[in-house]
């Protein structure tokens, strides 16, 4: 059996690892700038699919299908992002006689529409944030909604996702401008300028339920994930279980998620997202009809392999688990490592990874799409790896995260490791006292900067001592000479030039 991975980066590596363990061969695809990526090296075969721009490569269905045909693939796994929730791609994979590793295209289409999925929730009795099911016809309709439900409200592009096309409105005077901006973002990013409105639940938590369903009528939920630590509506840290979900709430969330699964004819692994307010009431947000970035925290706590299960389900096999087998153990936390500089307002930081030392030892897992010597291209999402820790309870997991962050070393690019090192020192994080606005508020305040700035004077002195000793050793060498004094500290500049012809930074 052979599987085409229609993706790149860490998720392509994750899928190839799963396939290797199942004895399934793999076919990778790559754009021009990904020629030397780990997913290309790890796959059995690899085919180029075009230039760097995603629209010409990873989003190009014709080229992906041509690579699948060239490699002789029997299955196609889309990963997340790119075409993972594109029903047309799923249909064309199936029309080409291959197996789609994901839910039926009809379920993708249904849950991909904000308005249709809200209707399904209403029909299946799952609570929703008060809001309009149909897109807004005009500003007057929006004003009428506000009259009835009050402020604040949230405007969302019908086709939106990943934080794009969302606008909060806290003041009536902002309504018209926000409506226009949400429409224009929806049009620009998703080619669909329809917008709907819902009540904004303040200081809520984003909690999602992992589900899995087979073609034989069986469906289970695998507990929840807490994803409230977000920057601009993008998840940054995820945990399992949620510190605010007890066994009773877990069961009620799980049953609500399964109602959505059954109502949509869903078959595969998937995620049903909810907002949970401070009184413990929950509201359906949307369903992600694919493998989720943060699936590892569930794998660690439930002792399962979601990639293996997803492939098995796509082959028509029965679910491996009954609901009563699925017992959580311990606590897991994932940090998304982005090539961004938290000290420079999260500016993108592509480039060559000159040094990469990963943490190891007990309870530490790294899912990575790069290695030392990799060039992080400027063309895609900046996530380069995920650090996942698992321990017997949340305090032990936080301590392990802190230890793993100490060991993790990356030079050449800036990463969000810097942010996480400050975050694990914040009381709110240690005490799990946060909501979806927590990180943005923290970043807007001086508090995080203060933690960043609170340098350990001993470490600072050691940095100065190390720098002058290193400079003394290098004194007399030509700056910029790629061979330098033979210690290799300049080779990366040459590497960047030869590999990309573009950016020394």
């Amino acid at each position: 059996m052979k599987l085409l991975v229609a993706n790149r980066g860490e998720i392509a590596v994750r899928i190839i690892r799963g396939c290797r363990e199942m004895g399934i061969e793999t076919v990778a695809v790559y754009s021009e700038v990904d020629r030397q990526s780990p997913h290309v090296l790890m796959a059995d075969q690899a085919f180029p699919i075009g230039p760097a721009a995603a629209s010409a490569s990873y989003l190009n269905i014709d080229r992906l299908l041509a690579a699948a045909a060239a490699g002789g693939a029997d299955l196609v796994h889309p990963g997340y992002g790119f075409l993972a929730e594109n029903a047309e791609f799923a249909e064309r994979v199936e029309a080409a006689g291959m197996t789609w590793v994901g839910p039926p295209p009809a379920a993708i289409r249904l849950m991909g529409s904000k308005t249709e999925s809200r209707k399904l929730a209403i029909n299946t009795g799952v609570p929703l944030v008060p809001g309009m099911v149909e897109p807004l016809a005009d500003l007057a309709q929006l004003e009428a909604f506000v009259d009835q439900h009050g402020l604040p409200v949230l405007l969302k592009a019908v086709a939106g996702g990943g934080g794009k096309g969302m606008r909060e409105v806290h003041d009536r005077s902002e309504l018209a401008a926000a409506f226009e901006r949400a429409r224009s973002e929806g049009g620009a990013y998703f080619g669909d300028d329809r917008v709907y409105v819902e009540r904004l639940v303040v200081r809520a938590r984003h909690i999602e339920v992992q589900v899995a369903a087979d073609r034989h009528g069986n469906a289970v939920y695998l507990g929840e994930r807490e994803c409230s630590i977000q920057r601009r509506h993008q998840k940054v840290v995820e945990e399992c279980p949620s510190p605010v979900v007890d066994a009773d709430l877990r069961q009620r969330l799980g049953e609500a998620a399964l109602a959505i699964v059954r109502g949509s004819g869903y078959q595969s692994v998937g995620t049903v997202e909810f907002l949970v307010d401070r009184s413990g009431e929950f509201y359906f947000l949307e369903m992600n009809t694919r493998l989720q970035v943060e699936h590892p925290v569930t794998e660690e706590v439930y002792g399962v392999d979601l990639v293996r299960e997803m492939i098995n389900l796509s082959l028509g096999r029965e679910l491996s688990w009954r609901q009563e087998d699925l017992l959580p153990r311990g606590h897991a936390i994932e940090c998304r490592i982005y090539a961004e500089d938290p000290l420079r307002n999260f500016a993108p930081s592509p480039g060559l990874i000159a040094l990469l030392v990963r943490p190891g030892g007990p309870g530490v897992r790294v899912d990575s799409g790069v290695f030392q010597g990799s060039v992080v291209p400027l063309d895609y999402d900046p996530m380069v790896a995920k650090l996942v820790v698992h321990a017997s309870d949340r305090p032990a997991a936080v301590a392990r995260l802190r230890r793993a962050l100490q060991e993790y070393q990356v030079r050449g690019i800036a990463t969000t490791l810097t942010l996480f090192r400050a975050l694990v020192e914040m009381d709110e994080f240690v005490e799990a006292d946060f909501h979806t606005g927590f990180l943005d508020e923290l970043l807007a305040s001086e508090r995080l900067a203060e933690v960043h700035g609170r340098q350990d004077p001993e470490a600072e002195e050691a940095a100065v001592v190390a720098a002058v000793c290193l400079a003394t050793l290098q004194a007399g060498t030509v700056v910029g000479d790629p061979f330098g004094d033979g210690d290799g500290s300049h080779w990366w500049q040459e590497g960047v030039r030869t590999q990309h012809g573009r950016y020394p930074r």
Partner: protein, 167 residues
């Protein structure tokens, strides 16, 4: 050797001598024997001989005299200059000339908000650069008049590339 180490606005002088089996480092009134071993091109082990304090150092030298180091998990950015370089750097900083807006990151120019002749305020957006699916607004560091615009929308620019010059 004598070095001038700059970190942000702070400057200090440090004297380093190579001694058998390591270095002697004098900073202010403190004299330290130091054991430093480079493990490869980007990592080193640092140990103070007297107290036994041990540090794992990862480092990267920039294109000039800038160093980015991590000691344990803490990041530091330093400039390590010879005394002559330090004097030249101070002189250069004091000189007044046109203000340049360089691209801090490689990316694609999405928007250019100004034209030659415009008068801008400090903090005013000049150019929007896109990289890694993110738009980055670049603003004027100081007030001034635009005397040259070197890019146009759609153009790909390297890090350090000149975008706009202000008088």
């Amino acid at each position: 050797m004598k070095w001038v180490v700059r970190q942000g606005d702070a400057t200090r002088e440090v004297v380093v001598e190579r001694v058998p089996d390591g270095f002697e480092v004098v900073m202010g009134s403190e004299r330290r024997r130091v054991d430093l071993i480079r493990l490869d091109g980007a990592m080193a082990s640092l140990r103070y001989v007297d107290g036994g304090q041990s540090f794992s150092v990862s480092y990267q030298r920039g294109t000039g005299r800038e160093w980015r180091l991590a000691v344990g998990e803490r990041d530091f950015e330093l400039e390590v200059l010879t005394p002559v370089e330090a004097i030249e750097a101070s002189a250069a900083a004091a000189a007044v000339g046109p203000s340049r807006l360089d691209a801090p990151i490689p990316g694609k120019v999405v928007e250019v908000h100004v034209s030659v002749g415009d008068v801008v305020q400090a903090g005013q957006p000049l150019v929007v650069l896109e990289a890694m699916k993110m738009e980055n607004e670049l603003t004027a560091k100081q007030a001034g008049k635009v005397i040259a615009v070197h890019v146009e929308p759609g153009q790909i620019i390297d890090a350090g590339g000149l975008l706009v010059e202000l008088e």
